[in-house]
């Protein structure tokens, strides 16, 4: 059904730390790897070995420059579905293929029912949906629904592929509807925020801003100089004395 379900207590989503993200593309790559065989498989690639290669990815890592001069920062910025609470990508769907799970808020596409009209991708403000032009149906981030509840893989592995791939732990997965969860506490502590809040889609995923740079020390320590007695080599000790005269 493409009417939105009543808000669920459980709101599964990601928290992405823009302070630590190094833009290595590991999350994007592992997302592609897992999902090419997972719930939304296959993920097509066209002309993969020649110029003009393109394909469907659920996660795209941009890099931005923000601010000017000394205050300027380079920020790496992964972009995937935010599993919004009130997204139009669900309500515009004419077939019921695009839906939000009532139990945990994950936004999914039923590839069996999708007609590939593309309207949901027009309605997503964040560019999180890409049409699979091979199968003629819409594809998007599944929040790795086939990992996080998967009893056949070891418990520590029941995390989204992008989260476990991140070498600097810039991605966190959890229940953002529970104020006591680790992710909710992280968001509270670091001032996590919504992307494009003016759109009114109420994203579940949160982004943690780059940390403030520490203010420069007004009394920088004087440069430590080796004393002459510390120089072991006799020749250099003599040179030091000669030059210091």
């Amino acid at each position: 059904m493409t009417e939105l379900p009543p808000p669920s207590a459980k709101k599964l989503g990601l928290v992405i730390d823009l302070d630590t993200c190094v833009g290595c593309q590991a999350c994007a790559t592992n997302c592609k790897e897992w999902n090419a065989g997972g719930h939304a498989a296959p993920l097509p690639d066209f002309q993969p070995y020649s110029a003009g290669a393109e394909g469907v990815w659920f996660n795209r890592v941009h890099s931005y420059e923000a601010g000017e001069g000394e205050a300027g920062r380079t920020v790496h910025f992964p972009r995937s579905c935010l599993h919004c609470e009130t997204p139009d990508c669900v309500t515009v769907c004419p077939t019921g293929a695009s839906y939000k799970r009532a139990e945990d808020g994950i936004v999914l596409v039923n590839a069996e029912a999708c007609i590939g009209c593309g309207l949901c991708a027009w309605a997503c403000a964040y560019g999180a949906r890409e049409l699979d032009e091979d199968a003629g149906v819409m594809k998007k981030c599944t929040l790795c629904v086939d990992r996080i509840t998967n009893e056949t893989i070891p418990a520590p592995q029941r995390q989204p592929a992008c989260v476990i791939a991140c070498p600097v732990s810039a991605r966190h997965f959890g229940d953002l509807g529970d104020p006591e969860s680790d992710v909710s506490k992280l968001v509270a502590a670091r001032g996590g925020y919504d992307l494009m809040p003016e759109m009114g889609y109420r994203p579940v995923n949160k982004y943690l801003p780059p940390r403030e740079r520490p203010a420069p020390n007004p009394n920088p320590p004087a440069e430590a100089q080796p004393s002459a007695a510390e120089i072991r080599n006799p020749l250099l000790r003599w040179l030091d004395r000669a030059l210091s005269r």
Partner: protein, 312 residues
């Protein structure tokens, strides 16, 4: 937004078809269009051909056309679904209208024609709302978009009915409607263009709000996430050069104004000359609308391009 030919053609053709159906169903009982059943059947056939051609072309746009029937299920939330339901529902009174005309029984033709007119108006309104309801595309999420679809459908439908009516020697009321609606289309489109050209209001998304990096300062893209194209950029990153835009806008307005002018010239005339002028006017109206519709896509920008280029 990518001006896919199938959608540009669909919305223009089906709009004109529904406009023609609307005016035929409404004006015939009022005796403001030729009353002969043969004429009614001819006009109805033209309307249905345009509608069906448009719908078929929109099916071509789907990734999985064979599943199109599924689109009828979500009318409670989706304007696209409502459009599908309204379009199919309109075929019922339109068919009965044809039956009434065929049998010469006005007791059927009149109410069925009026119902078909209602269905036509509802369908076009749904088409307009599909676009007008999309928040990420500010040029579409505008109060003039859905009324525009109604005016353009009414205009092209009236121009077609005038051209057909002239063959039967009665075109005055449709020609007057075509003049009035042509001018309305002109004014509406000029106001719309002025509105979307103006500086976007405060609260319009920017790269700073899209990334949240505005807290640090002015934000600009440094490295793209991919060096080749993707579907998103092909579908939503379409840009049109300003010089082409201005020329095409002129062409569209010229089509509207030209159609109105030809209808005005045809009014005092009659006979074959009027029919010729009105036929040319209908073609101008449709040509202008094709250009208008192409522009409506080409000029629209999507918030996803904020992430890629910093602009939308």
């Amino acid at each position: 937004m990518n001006p896919a030919p199938s959608i540009v053609f669909f919305t223009t053709a089906s709009g004109a078809g529904y406009g023609l159906l609307f005016w035929l169903g409404l004006l015939r009982p009022l005796r403001m269009a030729p009353h002969a059943p043969e004429f009614g059947l001819l006009a109805l056939a033209v309307a249905l051909v345009l509608i069906v051609a448009g719908l078929a072309s929109s099916l071509l746009h789907l990734g999985r056309p064979e599943r199109a029937w599924r689109a009828l299920s979500q009318w409670r939330s989706s304007w696209l679904s409502r459009e599908g339901v309204a379009a199919i529902a309109t075929f019922v009174p339109a068919g009965l209208f044809g039956l009434g005309l065929l049998t010469g029984w006005d007791g059927l033709a009149v109410p069925a024609g009026l119902l078909a007119a209602l269905g036509a108006a509802a369908t076009v309104w749904c088409t307009g709302m599909i676009y007008a309801s999309l928040k990420p595309i500010r040029q579409w999420h505008h109060p003039l978009v859905a009324p525009g679809y109604m005016v353009f459908a009414g205009f092209s439908g009236a121009a077609l009915l005038a051209a057909l009516g002239a063959l039967a020697g009665r075109a005055t009321v449709p020609a007057l409607l075509a003049i009035g609606l042509g001018l309305a289309a002109l004014v509406l489109k000029r106001r719309y263009w002025a509105a979307i050209d103006a500086k976007p209001p405060r609260g319009t998304p920017t790269i700073e709000s899209a990334t949240g990096l505005g807290r640090i300062g002015r934000t600009r893209p440094l490295d793209p996430p991919h060096t080749e194209q993707n579907w998103l950029l092909r579908e939503m990153g379409f840009r049109i050069a300003r010089k082409h835009r201005d020329r095409l806008r002129g062409l569209a307005l010229g089509g509207f104004g030209g159609a109105a002018l030809l209808a005005l010239l045809a009014l005092p005339l009659g006979g074959p000359l009027a029919a010729l002028l009105l036929a040319a006017g209908a073609l101008l109206a449709l040509g202008g609308l094709l250009v208008e519709r192409w522009l409506m896509f080409a000029e629209a920008t999507h918030t996803v391009t904020l992430f890629y280029t910093g602009e939308a």
